[in-house]
């Protein structure tokens, strides 16, 4: 299913696209926009809460702390969709659990919609990270 999302190659232009996405996310959060969870994200958070004591605030903090290095997949440069969707590898909670984090920004509105937050089933390469 992951293959259905594009992975942008590491170029200064693409890094700029991801940075723009993250800046817009932080701007919305600082303007008081709360994250909305899809049913799937809500189900996944239940496992994180029971297994690792992760709370909603931890997910929000993880999103706020993302950098381009966390980028995994997403952002359609054509920008024809209702939401710009991007996936990241991030750590959450007191145990620094590594999770797959995917959310979208509404293009004609302000919603931040969380699609996924779960422990990844496979290693996640981060194309913008200097290993």
């Amino acid at each position: 299913m992951i293959s259905r999302m594009v992975q942008l190659p590491n170029t200064p232009e693409n890094s700029g696209l991801v940075q723009e996405f993250l800046d817009e996310t932080r701007r919305r959060i600082s303007n008081g926009i709360d994250i909305t969870f899809t049913n799937k994200a809500n189900e996944e958070l239940k496992d994180l809460a029971l297994d690792f004591n992760v709370e909603v605030a931890d997910i929000e903090t993880a999103i706020e702390n993302l950098s381009t290095e966390n980028y995994f997949r997403g952002i359609d440069p054509s920008r024809k969709a209702d939401f710009e969707v991007c996936a990241f590898s991030a750590t959450v909670g007191k145990d620094n659990v590594r999770i797959y984090l995917k959310f979208g920004l509404e293009v004609q509105g302000l919603q931040i919609l969380l699609f996924s937050n779960h422990v990844p089933d496979y290693p996640m390469n981060q194309p913008f990270k200097n290993y």
Partner: protein
């Protein structure tokens, strides 16, 4: 409000979650909005699905953890309320008798059990009135008249 700024109701539904062999049942809150495809980012205006605000997720996770603690042997808020009603003990008084701070029982009744050890201790006490009776006698913050009153109500049950 939905994505298109239409007023919407907060909905409630019983939900189940299996976790490590335990079936957890609790009430969840949510609202409905148009589904969004997570791969294309397109809104499907022919289908609605459950969505959750941050505050709703917060409340749902608290309810889930409360259900988990109860499944692991903690007292449920309703058990505590029923016990207090039966023996006419206020929430603050039960807190003090058990050695908690004054508001602990009230908080648990309103928000659920937040700690498994505390929840299990309360459950043990509710299920064994001889323990509560002993704690009442040992409580320094109750005067002798109050101790006698509560003890009498408990003892009637034990006899």
């Amino acid at each position: 409000m939905t994505r298109e700024n239409h007023l919407t109701n907060e909905l409630h539904g019983i939900t189940y979650k299996m976790h490590k062999g335990l079936k957890l049942e609790y009430t969840e809150v949510f609202y409905l909005d148009y589904d969004v495809d997570e791969y294309t980012g397109l809104i499907n205006r022919n289908k609605t699905s459950k969505h959750y605000t941050k505050s709703q997720v917060d409340r749902n996770i608290k309810a889930l953890k409360n259900a988990y603690h109860i499944a692991k042997g903690a007292a449920s808020p309703s058990e505590i309320i029923n016990f207090r009603d039966k023996y006419q003990i206020s929430a603050s008084m039960l807190s003090i008798i058990l050695g908690f701070s004054k508001n602990t029982i009230s908080n648990i009744e309103n928000e659920g059990v937040t700690s498994l050890p505390s929840g299990r201790l309360i459950k043990m006490c509710l299920d064994n009135k001889a323990i509560i009776y002993q704690y009442i006698q040992l409580c320094d913050d109750l005067d002798s008249r109050k101790k006698e009153e509560i003890s009498r109500r408990l003892m009637e049950e034990i006899k």
